[in-house]
Amino acid sequence: MRTVTVVGASLAGLYAARALRGQGFDGRLVVVGAEPHRPYDRPPLSKDFLTGKADEEQLALCDEEESAELDAEWLLGMPAQGLDPQGRAVLLADGRTLTTDGVVIATGAGPRMLPGPAYAGVHVLRTLGNARALRTELANGPRQIVVIGGGFIGAETASSCAALGHDVTVIEAAPLPLVPQLGADMAAFCAGLHQRGGVRLICGTGVAALHAGRTVTGSGGSAHDRAVTGVELTDGRLLAADLVIVGIGAHPQTRWLSGSSLALDAIDGGVICDDGCVTALPQVVAVGDVAKVGGIRAEHWTSATEQPAVAVRNLLAGRTTETLRTVPYFWSDQYGARIQFAGHRQDGDTVEIAEGSLAEGSFLARYERAGHTVAVLAVDRPRPFLRARRALRDPATDHPELSDPRSIRGPSGVHPRPSGHACDS
């Protein structure tokens, strides 16, 4: 393989570039990215970046030194527009064609939009550009904010907005948010976090329409010049809002693949791969949010960092020699709580609190099926979670006596505090 083209210059694309060099690929490496930025980290966008605790430099995923070491050609601000049916040529937005021996598809997911006109004051949160725009608006004094969608990004964004002192309401179409991810019991706990953060949660009603007022700038009459003033719900209620954040999920970014021979999943639109991230074309692999790997499409940071090493090994081998053996994992920070989840949950699994309690707001829950733990959820219980997660991955470690990182601040133990912070000088 003389040339490999990575399409998508974000988390999964960067990890693929690293894996290529790490696994000895010394040919031409081209990374094509639609955004003008070097790879940056998205999770902080709804968390510390939005609240101003983290700045842009802290989002960078690689530094100058590493970039130089990767010895890649970065074509940034340059969306790919096509992949030929053989997977040997990537068409770029400026009309150029890159001939290539291997392709890594890492184009991620893009936010779902509300139908209707695009009014000023309506935001989505997926890119640094989105986050900058939202952060600027949040700095302009107290706002009345409606967040549409109570999923993880919606909840984190609501939490950050509330922490900045804004008035926040979250609208969720389902009877409860996060039920597909966590099941009803644990979803109910998470729904309660909104209240703890002083945020109203309205469930079981959709959005009928956005209302907008007169032109913002006075010039012209396009929708962009009209600012949002409220959200009309399907139950007839009208919520006043001068800022609306739409967090209703994301879909794989695959439009550029429409002329290719690759199959997309009929339900979620992910690029179909085997469980080694290889598509129907052996020299084309897919990783990260865009990839449906062995029937599963995750939108998790950790999946986007774990899949590339396997995908690249198979790409360089020309066939699937390795498959993914990881357990899906994600975390979410909202309202001061850290939620961590690992495993595969299905409807019908039973859930049991293994440590702590819902009442104290800190617990480890196990999801079980046919007597086996299939998934674990923790809220502010990182230590037992880590052990439970490792046990899911490798059942042999599920013995407390094996490398158990015991704590002397156990549930009943004391948390020793130093008697002084003075420097011994």
Partner: protein
């Protein structure tokens, strides 16, 4: 010098976090005591909650791993080293001597 706890309360495989600014984690791992900054250099996670493997600790949030002897990151996503601190046992008591640069920062901070 910061007295942490009695050695017998920090058995092999155990860790403790001390609420200094920044917080410090003390580990009893691989037959030795180690003290390093508790907050992962990647993002916001407490390494005293991490997973010990020999003389290294894996972060509980995104699995970066650090060499406890040197503080150096052993794998991504961490790219910066942790500060290491001196730890000794004095008459059965585990004692941490905070690295000078941290102290300086603290002193400058309090003098300002």
């Amino acid at each position: 010098m910061i007295p942490v706890c009695r050695l017998q309360d920090l058995p092999e495989g155990a860790s403790v976090r001390i609420d200094t600014t920044p917080p410090i984690a003390v580990f009893h791992a691989d037959g030795e005591l180690f003290a390093v900054d508790d907050t992962c250099t990647h993002q916001d996670a407490s390494l005293s909650d991490g997973w010990l493997e020999g003389a290294s600790v894996e972060c509980p949030l995104h699995a970066a791993s650090f060499d406890l002897r040197t503080g150096m990151p052993l794998c991504l996503p961490a790219r910066r080293a942790l500060r290491t601190h001196q730890v000794t046992v004095d008459d059965g008591m585990v004692v941490v001597r905070v690295a000078a640069d941290v102290c300086q920062v603290a002193e400058e901070g309090s003098a300002a």
